[in-house]
Symmetry: C2
Subunit: 312 residues, 2 copies
């Protein structure tokens, strides 16, 4: 056990993590950047940590949860859109012909996204999301999606917060969808959720005001856009970034490609018994380049099979 | 003195504010929303307050400070841009033919903005801003611009924070320009500054990464865009909004046009002796519709002459 271990007489802040390289790297890094007077000390206001959501904080397999939500919205909205029965990509969903995220092109997913996630306020959308989350459950695990969150990751979020970190979610999912449960499930307030979004419009009707979601894409927060949105919204380079797919590479490179101490981590879904095993070539959470770059960039590849005592 | 006054034996949290309607409204509102079990109690995580910057937190007259910064950047960059000597709007600045924000159209200002605020990282831009702020001073007050901040407003920011509010700046100025001094001057961290911005691009060179500012406008955070950006980035309706010009009206309407307790405030620059007097028809900080709407919407119009003991 390295010098960074908190096990020495203290309570272990990461009890669901097995001793190993990943846990050592986390404890050592946090100890380093929080040691006042030490060479790698980072002031609390600069302790920014950014986490991907799908596949990093909660289960994304066999289908991204935000996709399942908007696909179900197509069913719920279908009676108001008779034209969808003969219009792709909606007709394929309604007929059950195509199911699963992998059977739709990115453009089709965006079309479904804007059609089902607009013409209402964020509050209304979050209420729909909460209602859907309450009545949906994971097909294999039999749990509500909000309980398919990774226990070791919850411990890590709490630990980082206790050490003065400000923790953000940076997700390809709609940010209001994630904001609907981020506080309750992750302890992360809405303003620390940066996600994909549609355009917004301020409206006023009889002295009542609101900002509504428009049926037009504003930003898809994946790949290099994750790094760009972090800079735009947070205004700082993170010192810790944690993802699980190649879409997180720019975020990890941004965190670890500057001066000063930093830590990049990738969850590797390699546990077919307790969760799933997927990486190269997967249409969900594909991870290939990330595995190749990890050594060169010094990122920790977290084996969910070996590094985690518990998954959920 | 109303029931909201904190004067009863406690230390006055707003000593630079004269007793009057505005101070009473602030103290009463804060007392209301922080009284656990009271009918207007607001949980700490929902206590979002949004402040305009120019003319609300610091002096904007006779010229917006962010404009002065980018106009001076034109001088500083001119030797690299010989073509500017014969290209408007740059040539007018270099020849001294046109000075002052009011002599340039909004489109020209944007052109100057993107030309002078791009092709570098936010860190580099903030360093330029800090350097400029260190060597510039207000033409009338003879103080650095960062000391031309309103003392009563600093007290209000501190007071709100002490009462569990999360305080944001929502400004038409470039957000990195304001982030360069917001923590030091206002106690507001970069991630709580929402401003105008150019587009950003993630780049990687030899293993070093950064996000650079591109010469293209991303967002101009004025008017209804203020409300829209608050919803996008914070994800919540503010319960307090404070501005000083008609460009802040949608932000105030957003804060005060929902259900639940809220407070809208506008600084009225009506003190020609200690600061300036301007409102209707001013090319800087024009305030006309805001004065008309204040009564109907229940906003406090803060007389800088009557309500403030000190300006700076
Ligand atoms: Ca992911
Ligand atoms: Ca203003």
């Amino acid at each position: 056990i390295g010098e960074g271990s908190a096990a020495r007489g203290d309570v272990d802040p990461l009890p669901s993590w097995n001793e190993g390289s990943a846990k050592r790297a986390i404890l050592s890094f946090v100890s380093d950047v929080t040691s006042e007077g030490g060479p790698n000390y980072v002031a609390p206001e600069d302790r920014i940590a950014t986490f991907d959501n799908d596949g990093t904080l909660w289960c994304e397999y066999p289908n991204y949860v935000p996709y399942l939500f908007i696909f179900d919205r197509v069913y719920d909205m279908a009676s108001y859109h008779p034209e969808w029965n003969s219009t792709e990509p909606f007709s394929s969903i309604l007929s059950g012909e195509r199911t699963g995220a992998g059977s739709f092109s990115p453009g089709e997913v965006l079309e479904i996204y804007v059609a089902t996630s607009s013409n209402m306020t964020a509050e209304e959308y979050m209420a729909l999301a909460r209602d859907w989350l309450d009545r949906s459950s994971h097909p294999d695990h039999g749990l509500p999606y909000t309980e398919c969150v990774y226990k070791p990751m919850l411990e890590l979020l709490s630990y980082l917060r206790s050490q003065g970190f400000k923790v953000y979610i940076v997700t390809g999912g709609d940010q209001d969808f994630v904001r609907a449960f981020s506080q309750e499930v992750y302890g992360i307030p809405p303003e620390q959720v940066i996600g994909s979004a549609v355009k917004h419009q301020f409206i006023e009707v009889d002295g009542n005001t609101s900002v509504v979601k428009l049926p037009e894409v504003q930003v898809v927060t994946d790949g290099r856009v994750k790094a760009e949105q972090i800079q735009q919204i947070v205004g700082l380079r993170p010192i810790l970034a944690y993802g699980n797919s190649d879409g997180d590479i720019p975020m990890l490179k941004f965190a670890t490609g500057g001066e000063g101490p930093s830590l990049g981590l990738l969850n590797h879904h390699d546990d077919p018994i307790r969760e799933y095993a997927y990486d190269i070539g997967s249409s969900i959470g594909g991870l290939e380049e990330g595995l190749e770059l990890a050594g060169e960039w010094g990122w920790e590849v977290v084996s969910m099979k070996e590094d985690w005592k518990y998954i959920f």
